[in-house]
Subunit: 333 residues, 2 copies
Amino acid sequence: MADAKYDVLGIGNAIFDVLVQTDEGFLGRHGMTKGGMALIDEARATAIYADMGPATEMSGGSAANTIVGIANLGARAAYVGKVRDDQIGRLYTHDIRAAGVAFETPAAAGGPATGCSYILVTPDGERTMNTYLGAAQDLTASDIDSAQIAAASVIYLEGYLWDPKSAKEAFVKAATIAHGAGRQVALTLSDSFCVDRYRDEFLDLMRKGTVDLVFANEAELHSLYQTSDFDTALKQLQSDTKLGVVTRSEKGCVVASKDGAVAVPAFPIQKLVDTTGAGDLFAAGFLFGLVRNAGHENAGRLGALAAAEVIQHIGARPQVSLKELAQQNGLPV
Amino acid sequence: MADAKYDVLGIGNAIFDVLVQTDEGFLGRHGMTKGGMALIDEARATAIYADMGPATEMSGGSAANTIVGIANLGARAAYVGKVRDDQIGRLYTHDIRAAGVAFETPAAAGGPATGCSYILVTPDGERTMNTYLGAAQDLTASDIDSAQIAAASVIYLEGYLWDPKSAKEAFVKAATIAHGAGRQVALTLSDSFCVDRYRDEFLDLMRKGTVDLVFANEAELHSLYQTSDFDTALKQLQSDTKLGVVTRSEKGCVVASKDGAVAVPAFPIQKLVDTTGAGDLFAAGFLFGLVRNAGHENAGRLGALAAAEVIQHIGARPQVSLKELAQQNGLPV
């Protein structure tokens, strides 16, 4: 197995975030399910945006947020995702490259605009996402560069990739190349409604060993196994995948393998502002710990630390050096 | 004099802000003057942006920030400024309208892109702005709607309007219409380097009575009168304009008329994060107090309160209801 050029390479829907703090009433008025990610078409995007207050914009996308967090912690990271060659696509490309991430996926020269998510943050800090996939729909297997995939120790894929028409082919192609090169493949289940849409396919990926490591939050885990009992679901996860990491908000996380499960507490915060990116940044810290061979418990602590930083401000990208933050907290970086 | 439809109408350069927290070294490397606003061309914008870290974007523009603050406080506000009909122009238009501001200036169908300011925020909270005017250069006298101008109690103009080629004609046209309708005209001097460029013209506007009320910070006041002595400069300001308001950062402000000067303290803050928009939001609070006939001292307090809110987070637009904040602090709204 050749030395890896990248520690982690992520593949996901490249999405620009349009964030606004709003009241609960907005969600009800627009028939939104609080805390979820709903796919919307251009007409609904226009209607929602027209009713939203003044917004703040920044680059997002689940796997992209994770990859930016990994680079911010000091590892070598790459990203594959599709934007258009429009103004927002150029902002997106700048931000991810400026974070130190290799990003070479060609921007679409035609077709829909760069994807946007209209994110409503309620006073309790919960975020409700409405995503117009836009150019992210045009990610195909041809965007997967075999040499680049084979050069990453871990590839990280988001369940959201099951939504665009042809991205799942890109997903499976990348996983196959990675395993051929002796690399590891990680998957996040992304969202409980996403799990509802693709439950059987996700279970199939896990049981066939297409993915080695699965990230899920409690809602996603319960949706995957259609049970409300955590322990039952966790046991099934342990039998279905080599390594499962379940995040439980303020209750911390559980890292589960066939050898057993270890619980890691959440990192204390001063004030919850916006949960956008919490799971993404948890995955960043965990994967960073994994590629640094820090052990599951330290990997969980790094995940908890990165998640704690991102939920204390608006937006899903870190606003400080996570590397320095980890050092200040005595965690290995 | 007809009843006013708007309390305040602002005219300015419509600029989208691209903000990044950076170290002092960045400013030195790019030859930037800390705390100032430098005009840049597209080539320099590209070079600066390429070297900047991951950014956060939101709508800005000095007078626009002020007008949004006034609407946020609960007054009727309108804005005149030029964007292009591009993606960023649409974000800009959404944000100002979503803030409750009437904004009807037609977007340019051709020519340069919507203007952007690349804003570097150093660890001390100071902001250094690099502005590519873009479509803001195409604001002309034909964008001034006489009926709309005449329908505003106060029109508020930014000194930055002297930079684009033809905006000063729009400025003078608007001031003339306003005075013809018995309205008041306010001007902010914008930036000490801007004052350096247009000192004689600004003094002329004041001495000929084209403007009735002038906002300046200490650096702008000293630049205007080319003196380092505050009291000397203040006396000259009192003789040159009906009402002068000088902001002095943590020392508060001085409201000076021919009848005398009153000092108002700054509003206490917990942590200075980003000074972007401090002067703009001070002007918002002050003008709001003025149109509500709250008296100079209360107007100064409202200005101090609005400025204190905006410097405690990234970006130049308020993140809370200033109206509620003022009520909580016993100020008239």
